[in-house]
């Protein structure tokens, strides 16, 4: 078990190295990626700030709470953009052109090679921005030391849930002629998840919490950090992660069975 873990860690180190070397050969693209993320962060914070210039609260949340929520989203989004996003965009091409064949014959888990191979080097450097904002607004909200200790774990848990949901959705590309649209669907679900769950009406909120649990990704950890008595949402989130893993392993087998290998 330990040697297996070491093997995958070494493999991942090689993926990181390759992606950084590749990114450094296209320096302007590397810089533009950083600018893109900064513009995105600025636009999200500006939107919330402008709204709060006209209202005291949205639902039950004040400005600091929503700003913390947004910072939390950006921290998870930063991990998603750095470690996963590029792989989803490449998957549609790999399936259509048969490039997946080469990943399937490698001596590593096909899920690992398909979804963790591409790392966005430009995005990785920006982790300081969302984390600084999260610390600033957490401080304003008077977080206790318990909250600060569990915060990194909650970010990782949210990242895991978002990764599971998006990977499961991406699997639909195996049954489509052109998979780019699925990436747009994935991005739309991100858009829906980026706001507090209380803005959505009852029935839709239930679907987006229990069926496609995108509303749990950021809402559950934020609610728990604001009020530790709200621990039930975390039980829901942990259950969603566990179910997500089971569904993904089962679905991935189905995907590989239906893969027709365009190149062979």
């Amino acid at each position: 078990m330990l040697s297996r873990t070491k093997y995958y860690l070494l493999l991942y180190r090689e993926f990181i190295k390759t992606c950084f070397v590749e990114a450094m050969s296209f320096r302007l693209h590397f810089v533009l990626l950083i600018i893109m993320d900064l513009v995105f962060y600025a636009s999200v914070f500006a939107s919330v700030d402008i709204i709060y210039q006209h209202v005291e609260t949205i639902g039950t949340w004040n400005r600091e709470q929503l700003m913390f929520f947004v910072s939390f989203i950006l921290s998870v989004n930063h991990l998603q953009m750095s470690l996963l996003a590029n792989n989803y965009w490449e998957l549609s091409l790999l399936i259509r052109q048969g490039g997946l064949d080469f990943l399937l014959v490698k001596p590593a888990s096909s899920l690992f090679s398909t979804f963790l191979r591409r790392i966005s080097a430009g995005s990785t450097l920006l982790f300081l921005v969302p984390w600084s904002c999260m610390i600033y607004f957490g401080n304003k909200l008077g977080f206790t030391w318990h909250a600060w200790v569990i915060l990194p774990f909650l970010v990782l848990l949210a990242f895991m849930l978002t990764g599971l949901i998006e990977t499961i959705i991406s699997c639909a590309m195996f049954w489509m002629l052109e998979g780019v649209g699925i990436n747009f669907l994935r991005m739309q679900l991100q858009q829906v998840a980026r706001w507090p769950d209380f803005i959505y009406a009852g029935f839709i909120r239930k679907i987006l919490t229990f069926f496609i649990p995108v509303l749990l990704i950021y809402n559950a950890p934020s609610r728990f950090l604001f009020d530790f008595h709200d621990w039930l949402v975390m039980v829901g989130m942990l259950s969603a992660v566990a179910i997500g893993w089971v569904v993904l392993f089962f679905l991935w087998k189905l995907c590989l069975n239906s893969y027709e290998s365009a190149s062979s």
């Binding site: 533009l32 939107s47 709204i51 949205i58 489509m176 858009q191 803005i199």
Partner: protein, 264 residues
Amino acid sequence: MLKWWQTIKVHWSNTLVYRVNFLLMVVGPVLVFFFVKVSLWYSIFEGNTEIRIGNYSLSDMLTYHLWTMIIMLISRSYNFGKLSEDIRLGRVSTYLIYPFSLWEFQATNFVSRLLIQIFIALFCLFILMTTFSQYFNNFEAINLAKGLLLAVVVSVFWFSLQYLIGLLTFWLEETWVIAVIAETAIQLLSGNMIPLDLFPEWAARLLDYTPFPYVTFVPVKMIMGSGGDLLTALGNLVFWILILNLIILFVWRKGLKLYTGAGM
């Protein structure tokens, strides 16, 4: 003219082969964004029709976003990706010897897509008018005609911007990053999420010197009957389109000198 018509027909059949993909890429994002905005503003107003934020009641805000959706459905253009690929893979060489230039080909694709998008927008408008008739009480047909005319001109603006971004492939490996930066900035600064009259006064005044208000805010206000003079709006849009096209001409001439015709 026959060349244009034949290319439009080919583009239609290409688009309609991947119908689900087209819907997920073009219609899906607009509908989901609309759903998120309506949920958000309904929550901000707490469902109360008496509250006013700036000059907007809840009903005004929902009407604003209904029209924003229609404008977006008509005007959004996505041509940079194909153009980028054509340049990178050396397919531009074909257009240099054809009696149908690259610009003509791209413009024809744009027109064919615009016609599909207008059809979808009008279909959505019909559904919305029958379902949410209460939000369409105060509009006049003449204002609708003015707004739709502006939306078509806005689509030319988007086309020109995306064409320019696509041409940057002569210098850059990937141009999607610039397209995302432009899209993120325009989404906020055009009043797509928050009407521009809710922005701080200094920001709103500054934006008057940019094309952004004419992309969404002005056409929507025109339909709602408070968008000012049509000719002024048209003049401003045409001015920015001309500027963009002058830059396109310059970039095309410079870029062609760098073009290596990869794969020839």
